[in-house]
């Protein structure tokens, strides 16, 4: 049988293998990028809410602490969304005629809940717990971003497993003193602005992280990166 392809085509065959590899690699990289894109993770996306509630206004503008509204965040797995009654502590007096707040008043009158859209939403097969993170010194804005600069709330991080693990593999890079967890202005220690814990001033995150790891009795990394911590 005569040869179908002439010998001079060998080069093309080799080249086409290379091209296939490159294309395959690019497709794979594209898929991975797609997996991490906001289209899949919802990162940075706002959703329609019944009332255009502004964290910027209430947190930075008025100085209200997170716990005034998210009262259960320190003690339970779930950080609650405040009930209408909490809004009414103030809005029974303030902006009582604003059309923007009509859904709140309607909800207060009728006893029907306001239906907020959930933004940070882990899959149901992942176990997450707020209270342990708060009590071991992980700040709200480490995970939720600059909440005090958000006129409308959005999910600040991907919330993918690699993101959780990035911290669980070396939590000491992120820890801060417990009383700074709710402080949106907190900055990691520097030469000019050290952070003081137990009367020792720390100028580097590394040293501070080590000290807090010991102070708050963090478990070892193997424990908190094992699958059953989050998939139970």
């Amino acid at each position: 049988m005569a040869q179908i392809f002439h010998r001079s085509l060998n080069l093309y065959t080799k080249a086409s293998i290379l091209v296939a590899l490159v294309l395959g690699g690019a497709a794979f990289a594209g898929l991975m990028a797609f997996e991490r894109s906001p289209y899949i993770t919802n990162q940075g996306i706002t959703k329609p809410q019944p009332v255009p509630f502004s964290h910027q206004h209430h947190v930075a503008g008025l100085g209200i602490d997170c716990r005034y509204c998210h009262a259960s965040v320190e003690t339970s797995a779930y950080a609650n969304i405040p009930p209408t009654k909490t809004c009414f502590n103030c809005h029974s007096q303030i902006w009582t005629n604003a059309a923007m707040l009509e859904p709140v008043r309607e909800s207060y009158r009728s006893g029907k809940s306001l239906v907020w859209s959930k933004l940070n939403d882990l899959p149901d097969y992942v176990y997450f717990n707020h209270s342990i993170h708060i009590n071991k010194g992980v700040g709200c804005n480490t995970c939720h971003g600059p909440v005090d600069k958000m006129p409308l709330m959005y999910q600040a991080n991907t919330l993918q497993m690699e993101w959780c693990l990035e911290c669980h593999r070396n939590p000491e890079k992120f820890l801060r003193p417990r009383n700074q967890v709710f402080n949106m202005e907190y900055k990691q220690p520097t030469e000019e602005l050290p952070v003081t814990v137990d009367n020792v001033a720390y100028t580097e995150q590394e040293a501070l992280g080590k000290a807090l790891t010991a102070k708050y009795h963090l478990r070892n990394v193997t424990d908190i990166t094992s699958c059953s911590t989050c998939h139970r």
């Binding site: 898929l31 209200i64 502590n89 303030i94 097969y125 009383n179 402080n183 202005e185």
Partner: protein, 220 residues
């Protein structure tokens, strides 16, 4: 060779499948505060039927939960005041009361200044200095006038801790230079805020440590 022929497409299909998966994401169970279309009010968390006493809600110690002896507000604290109780009280006061009553309790907080029909009274007026602890407990629990009750946001124990701290604030108003413990200096300058920090909860970023004690932030 046949193995590879099966494996490669299988792997490819697997990577594609990673995007089409919802059943384990949204399992048929309710997370807290989730919506439930079965009930007319759409809440999955149901209210207790009238007369139910849930575990931990028997409230046998009625003074602890009402601040009243018979019909009169009592003066005593239901537990002894330690340093920890005061610190807890300070923290809770700054979260829940300071937005309106201000951090020093003079009633000039941020929120009422934005349009309340009247300002809260100062804790340092004679009437409130003399008011018994149980009266404060009743106001926090049930509200008064245009102030709403806070029983839903603050557990009873914390309400008492707040009262202990208000008493400390009231005492502080009468303090003089003689009350400062030996070896401590009164701060002479106002605390510094970084950037635009209004009242309320936005804490100061810890300032560079000096020899003297720090007032806020840093120290636990």
């Amino acid at each position: 060779m046949t193995r590879v022929k099966i494996l490669v497409p299988a792997l490819l299909i697997l990577t594609i499948c990673s995007a089409c998966r919802q059943d384990m994401h949204d399992q048929p169970r309710y997370k807290p505060q989730a919506r439930n279309d079965f009930f007319p009010d759409m809440r999955s968390a149901r209210l207790l039927i009238d007369g139910t006493v849930a575990r931990g809600q028997l409230h046998e110690d009625s003074y602890f939960y009402t601040g009243k002896i018979g019909n009169n507000p009592g003066e005593v604290m239901p537990f002894s005041i330690t340093h920890d109780v005061l610190e807890r009280g300070q923290e809770r006061y700054n979260i829940f009361c300071a937005p309106c009553h201000s951090r020093v309790g003079d009633g000039k907080g941020m929120i009422p200044s934005r349009g309340f029909s009247r300002m809260p009274p100062s804790y340092h007026i004679e009437r409130l200095q003399k008011a018994p602890a149980g009266y404060y407990f009743d106001v926090i629990t049930n509200g008064l006038g245009i102030m709403q009750g806070y029983s839903g946001q603050i557990p009873a124990k914390d309400r008492w801790a707040i009262i202990a701290y208000i008493r400390a604030l009231q005492l502080s108003q009468k303090a003089g230079a003689a009350d400062v413990p030996a070896g401590l200096n009164l701060p002479t300058a106002l605390p510094k805020f970084e950037g635009d920090a209004p009242s309320g909860a936005t804490l100061v970023t810890p300032a560079p440590p000096k020899k003297e004690e720090k007032k806020e932030g840093g120290v636990e």
